[in-house]
Subunit: 423 residues, 2 copies
């Protein structure tokens, strides 16, 4: 029995022109895979009528076609019209939708102090949907839609990623989509997350463990300087997957940090929470990236107190009590400065645990002795300190992101170590 086959069609001239990288295709592909539907292809087209029509034509030969974008009020947003044409059905003005979109646009016009008549054509356009289509609700003034075409079920979603995700969840509850899902076979996913091991070391460990195949498919993927291994396990291959993941993990145990999708910042906050510790950051070259990642987790405020971005030497002294003599002797990019910054953050921000990062993100500021990419880090808590230094490759953005993820893993190791030692 084969899985239902899905095609994702993403439209947006800025995407096909390289101005922006599409995020909806990868999101939808991962969703389809999780649900047991085969994501066969992602097609990205602009708003040219012939290209979009062609891509929809191909998409409608799959079992499920998910379309993103092109739902706006203007004439170059042609998705709905072309989906109807590809499915061989007409268009109709949906009165309840017309009322609803009209109401939103009226309030919007009022707020802008503009006449509603400016919006009228757009409202009619957005309330006009294919015959037989079901509305999933609105994203702004654009309805998401589900349509049963002769072969495929078509799901039409708005382009903005947050709105797409919200209406995709709605689509999964709608009858025609449910019928496709009933034929799907969700695989089991096993995740292994490594930090500190290279992609080729993980690939070698996988090969040594027997490799994939026989109902277990493995992907090894370097993502944000971590190595993520996903095992897609077909029904019946669970024992083989257990064996493979045990064999893969054994030689890499010191690098294995997770068996689910939780990001390291969430693990760090969880470890602090478990142990009743508060947390602060002291950043130089990462300029707020570490704090930003920690505060991206909802509910971070019960653990994370705050941080100091001490970009200038003066602020390192005044906000983090780094001694002037230390900066003079060792420089702001040094193990000594990282240590003083972490200690200063703990004391000044009255946190139990702190992490510091100082380095040279480039492109300027490097020297023979201290090259671009050199980064010193320190994590410090009631149980002691853990420090590290690296010369990271890559450009400014890459060095900063790598330093930030390393700071988070340093915190994780510091906290996990203390826990094991019963401190």
């Amino acid at each position: 029995m084969t899985r239902p086959r899905a095609v994702v069609v993403v439209t947006g001239s800025e995407l096909v022109r390289g101005d922006r990288t599409d995020l909806n295709g990868p999101y939808l592909a991962a969703e389809l895979l999780r649900l047991g539907i085969e994501p066969a292809r992602i097609v990205i087209v602009g708003d040219r009528e012939d290209e979009l029509a062609d891509a929809l034509g191909e998409g409608l030969r799959a079992d499920l076609c998910v379309v993103s974008g092109g739902l706006g009020p203007t004439h170059d947003d042609r998705t709905v019209e072309l989906v109807a044409r590809a499915a061989g059905v007409g268009l109709r003005l949906d009165e309840p939708l017309h009322d609803q979109i009209g109401g939103i646009s009226r309030r919007f016009a009022q707020r802008l102090g503009r006449p509603y008549v400016d919006f009228e054509a757009g409202v009619r356009k957005q309330a006009t949907i294919p015959e037989g289509a079901l509305s999933l609700g609105l994203a702004g003034t654009a309805p998401g839609l589900v349509l049963e075409a002769p072969r495929a079920v078509v799901v039409v979603l708005p382009g903005p990623p947050a709105e797409l995700r919200r209406l995709w969840a709605e689509a999964l509850r709608v009858e025609p989509v449910r019928r496709v899902l009933d034929r799907a076979r969700p695989p089991e996913l096993r995740l292994l997350r490594f930090f500190g091991a290279s992609e080729s070391a993980v690939a070698k460990a996988l090969a040594d463990a027997g490799g994939d195949g026989n109902g277990v498919e493995a992907t090894i993927c370097a993502r944000d300087f971590e190595i993520h291994v996903d095992l897609v396990v077909e029904p019946g291959a669970e024992a083989r997957a257990d064996d493979l993941s045990a064999r893969l993990a054994a030689p890499l145990e010191q690098y294995l940090f997770g068996r689910d999708g939780r990001p390291v910042e969430e693990l760090v906050l969880g470890l602090c929470r478990e142990r009743g510790l508060t947390l602060a950051t002291a950043e130089s070259c990462t300029g707020g990236l570490v704090a930003q990642r920690l505060t991206s987790v909802p509910g971070a405020s019960d653990v994370f107190l705050g941080g100091v971005v001490a970009y200038s030497d003066d602020l390192k002294m005044r906000q983090l009590d780094v001694p002037a003599e230390l900066l003079e002797r060792h420089g702001a990019v040094s193990a000594e400065a990282a240590a003083a910054m972490a200690a200063g953050a703990r004391a000044r921000l009255t946190a139990d645990v702190a992490v510091s990062v100082t380095g040279i993100a480039g492109p300027g500021g490097g020297s023979e002795e201290k090259p671009v990419g050199l980064v010193y880090l320190q994590a410090e808590g009631p149980a002691g300190v853990r420090s590290a230094d690296f010369v990271f490759p890559g450009d400014r953005d890459s060095i900063r992101r790598r330093a930030a993820v390393t700071a988070l893993h340093l915190l994780r190791l510091h906290l996990a170590q203390n826990r094991h030692e019963g401190v």
Copy 2:
């Protein structure tokens, strides 16, 4: 005269499964556009033979087909074989390539201490190319290739982005590709960047200005809460483009902040630099995002001193001198707190200019009086203050990113206003 039409085919099972976001498609699309070739679509497929064959079949109906990935030594890397089949030509072992790849593999085998015979099949596979194909040189052990198919010129490139970019530069020098480039017409690009106007307001202004067409193609794109208008100007349509951009900008002048691709953080740093002002940040709900964006710009350190992420009330008091009574009376999410945070950052971090952000990013923490999304901001400098408040829609990530971009634009307006007033 229409432009040559190009299709980009990207292959990789990790891409079609959403494990990784493809970067080659957007890179190649931007390159094609710059060169005056129309990037008609980007198709992402896995390594399933039928899907890839199908995508290549479509690609070979364009004038130029650029293929990325699937060049490895193993059996599931099928790009070369399927390109030959789609073009209707056979495969042949290329002796010089065989020697070259063999030499690399021999040295590699030696280094790993493995017998060369393990590599032999892979070497033969990678040295086997379509009849009539030209080699672009090697990426690792995989040759990039150019092939003239009956209709399309096909460029076959390796998947790793750095290698792809290197061999793409080679491809542009090869005769069959040069012939396609001779028919290309590089367009002129004009950019208009707005903040504070809605996408539909910009769309209406464009329509009122006469709309696009007649050699000027416009895309309106909401990106990171700004509205970006790109005008692609055909040779000969420059006067029409001048007129259209003037008419488009006139009613939106207060929202227009740029006519090039520089991000707002770079404009803010430039305005500070021009006027010899130093800058600091005081962030609560954005948790370091504003500082992170400012420090993403190389050379930020001559202007940006640092910032405080004051996530807890305690740190707002102790690091930014926000009075306890003020927090008690008005709450941490209030115009009064934002004002005190900005003033505190200027004083404590001894910066000329500071911006503050305090708000409720959610999903928890909202109330009827102060809902999730409520954000107060203040920019303050020698010339005075500029404040703002909003209730932003969306999820935590969206509210935080929107608050950060708003803080940067508030700074820009504060600085630009002072400049115009000759302060």
